[in-house]
Amino acid sequence: MKIIVAIKQVPERDAPVRIDPAGTWIEESSLQFALNESDAYALEEALQLKEKHGGEVAVVSAGPERVGSTIREALAKGADRAVHILCDDLHSRDALGVARLLAAAIKPEQPDLVLSGLQSEDLGLGQTGVIVAELLGLPHATLILNVEKTETGVKVKRELEEGWFQSVELPLPAALSIQSGGNKLRYATLMGIKRAKTKEVRILTAAELGADSAPVVRMERIALPTKQKSTQMLDGSPKEAAAALLEKLKFEARVL
């Protein structure tokens, strides 16, 4: 099975985020970057399928030069080769624009399976994988926890709300967007990194792919969420207070 995994490099989860002076993006200079979490699960799923059924796993990622370190990490974890779509303006491209880049790079590969993470940790749009599937004309499914190969295609487990799951069968080739938490991730190893040095990383540009396009959605302004603290004192006997608390947790905070 030939599997392509689309991955994205995002700021490290606990990075201190500051808005850049133009107000349309974050300051990147002091940030550290890592592989997007659900993409890590997509990669893991691909590697496990390869280990079970043989074949090849290639990763494709769009972004500036720094993305190279994340690509190397994916190669170290077991991907066989990579395509790096070099572009410095990733954040000013909308989901469609990014999906066009990815689809253009993936199409000539004619993969059996295209995997992507459900959504990115920085923008969280959750659209790119689905648009790539549309552009490639592939059947697709989202929110996938687990992929099983069958005689004719794949059987996937989707996570619905409230603890419900759905099982769907798709023919191949197909595109799937993978949810975090379905597998145990593997850690990167020294041996993996050393072996990754000899693996192929093909570098392409948007122009070479013929996939440059003006964005249809433009980032107007970004802002940090305003912090608000609201402490409420609940009066009454402990019993009444507890009942009131339960009420609030259920209906106001919606955490129960």
Partner: protein
């Protein structure tokens, strides 16, 4: 006759037949010896070179050799009675070298020590004193091994040890006996031959048994890695640690063949003492078994038949074994080497281990918490940010940044520093030092963490650091060296001890028992400083195992992050020992020990002693508005 004392009887004339017979026996003895010894020596010499081995400076080597080999310091200090008996045997062997040579040479008329001459007479008496000591010593050791039978010598009685003891005893007795018979008597001849044959019988027994240490251990001690628990760098693109026989270096192989199976390492091992599979002696013997069976070029994984992977990952890297070993075997680099082999190749599959590694691949601290939490802690307590003008960079570490007790320790130290007027600042961002991943064998992650931290420290122009965590101190000072030049760092016990005179005496009659953290004591040699701090705050009492023999809390070697322990928890065993001293307060000097004992003491319920870091003890006497 000059002296009225008896003279050593040496037969006057040997027949040709005797000379031929002895020569034949000697050849046979050497051949038998070599048949076993040759392959062992080849295994050692064919092992990989130690890339980072430097013979010089040799000062420490010579001191260790004199102290541990010639004076038998470690042997005696750790087990005084048996150790002294052993020393008597060892010294007798040294004194006997000349006697034995002369004994054989005399057969061919080449004797150089004349029993009647002044020099010979003096030397033979000199040797006789040692022979007497040796006979007593070996008899004592024999009684201990076969009748007293301490548990660490193993269940099985070793017939080899019995045989060796017998041979040594006969050697000494036949020598001493010769002082009481006339030189021309048949008895002298019988004694001579008894002595000679015993000598020749002894030689082939050496490489067959653990008495190989007679030959190897002086080399093992002299050719050590140079410092305690030193983890060697990996070299080249194909070195992932101790994966298979081909990765064993000469030092490792030499050590594997030097073990005397005394069991001291196991006796002090916290893992083994609490029902884990790990037995450091069996790790060493496992390597020996591997080498004997497969040799030093084998591709067969080391973790498998001879050494269990599970055992290698139960080690807290406390270093008690290495510290105790009388023949200079360095267990920690071996065990960490085996882990490196498993982790660097992805062969170690452990849920908690993977979680720790992933947390550090994606974030900055081992606890998997957000850096924002650390920012909040710094902000809330108005800790100054290091800007190059302050004297110290106060390194918070994962525990000091995130663990509630770790934070309390930091804040106590901060109060003291404010009181003393010492200027300090903390870094805006820290990453884990990589202590746990280093010792779990993840070199990729360790390198990334060390490099990122070294860069941040260099950018901030840090020259002096201070930390509440002995693990951070050790890792920064020693382990980071592989990737750059770390700033000087000291542990807060050293800082506090130096400034003790300027701090108010908070002392009362409260009994305080101090627990030596492995990474402060055995790793850094700091024993007195934390005691000085503690004894200013109360009456210091000692646990049965303290200082060099301190018993681990169970957290080291990354084990604080791995799941539930097999058997009893190490921390519970140690907490029970500390509580049994009757002290009202347990003083710790490491946030990991602190977190282990917090749970272990809480589990003891009512009446358990309180737990404080020495920084908290030092801050106790400060005036309230200290900050």
């Amino acid at each position: 006759m000059v002296f009225p004392l008896p003279t050593l009887a040496e037969p006057q004339h040997f027949s040709l037949a005797e000379r031929v017979l002895f020569a034949a026996l000697a050849v046979a003895s050497v051949a038998l010896f070599w048949r076993r010894f040759g392959p062992i020596l080849r295994n050692i010499l064919r092992s990989k070179q130690d890339a980072d081995f430097h013979l010089f400076p040799a000062g420490k080597r010579i001191r260790d050799f004199a102290g541990e080999v010639l004076l038998q310091g470690k042997v005696i200090r750790q087990r005084p009675l048996a150790g002294f008996a052993h020393a008597l045997v060892f010294w007798a062997f040294c004194a006997f070298a000349l006697v034995s040579l002369n004994h054989c040479a005399a057969l061919y008329g080449l004797g150089f020590l004349n029993p009647a001459g002044a020099v010979g007479r003096f030397y033979f008496y000199f040797a006789a004193v040692f022979a007497l000591g040796c006979a007593v010593g070996i008899a004592g050791l024999f009684i201990r091994r076969f009748f007293v039978r301490p548990k660490w010598l193993g269940e099985e009685l070793s017939w080899e040890s019995g045989l060796i003891a017998l041979l040594i005893f006969v050697l000494m007795a036949s020598y001493l006996g010769a002082f009481f018979v006339p030189a021309a008597s048949p008895a002298a001849r019988i004694l001579w031959w008894t002595h000679a044959i015993t000598l020749l019988a002894f030689l082939p027994v050496i490489p067959q048994t653990k008495h190989l240490h007679l030959i190897f251990s002086p080399f093992t001690v002299f050719l050590s890695r140079g410092s305690f628990s030193r983890i060697p760098p990996l070299v080249g693109d194909e070195d992932f640690g101790l994966v298979a026989g081909r990765d064993l270096t000469r030092i490792v192989s030499l050590q594997a063949y030097s073990c005397v199976e005394c069991g001291r390492c196991t006796e002090h091992c916290p893992a083994n003492n609490t029902g884990k599979l790990l037995n450091p002696k069996e790790i060493v013997l496992g390597l020996r078994g591997y080498l004997n069976e497969l040799g030093p070029a084998s591709e067969v994984p080391l973790l498998g038949k001879h050494i269990a992977q599970q055992a290698a990952f139960q080690c807290t890297t406390c270093g008690a074994c290495e510290f105790q070993c009388p023949v200079g075997i360095e267990h920690v680099p071996i065990i960490v080497g085996l882990r490196r082999g498993a982790v660097n190749t992805g062969a170690w599959d452990d849920e908690h281990g993977a979680k720790l590694f992933l947390a550090l691949e994606r974030g900055s601290n081992a606890l998997g918490l957000g850096a924002a939490e650390r920012d909040k802690f710094i902000e809330k307590n108005a800790l100054p940010i290091f800007d190059g003008t302050q004297e110290y960079c106060l390194w918070l570490g994962c525990m000091g940044s995130h663990d509630p007790r770790g934070r309390e320790i930091v804040l106590a130290l901060v109060r003291v520093m404010h009181y003393l007027g010492t200027s300090f600042g903390v870094l805006r961002k820290e990453r884990c030092t990589g202590d746990a991943v280093r010792r779990l064998g993840n070199d990729l992650l360790f390198q990334q963490l060390a490099e990122a931290n070294l860069e941040a420290l260099a950018q901030n122009k840090v020259t002096k650091m201070l930390s509440i965590c002995p693990h951070c101190v050790r890792t920064i000072q020693e382990d980071w060296k592989e990737y750059g030049a770390p700033p000087a760092i000291e542990h807060h016990s050293e800082f506090l001890a130096r400034h003790l005179a300027q701090l108010p005496r908070g002392g009362n009659q409260e009994q305080i028992v101090f627990h030596d953290p492995c990474y402060l004591g055995r790793y850094r040699g700091v024993y007195d400083e934390p005691r000085a701090v503690a004894s200013r705050a109360g009456l210091l009492v000692e646990a049965p195992r303290h200082r060099e023999r301190s018993f681990c809390c169970g957290a080291g070697g990354g084990l604080a992050f791995l799941g539930e322990e097999q058997g009893e928890r190490v921390s519970h065993a140690r907490a029970a020992e500390l509580a049994a001293t009757g002290a009202e307060t347990v003083a710790a000097a490491c946030p990991f020990c602190n977190s282990m004992f917090r749970d272990a003491l809480a589990a003891r319920g009512e009446g358990a002693p309180q737990l404080l870091d020495i920084a908290q003890l030092a801050a106790r006497g400060l005036p309230e508005q200290g900050n």
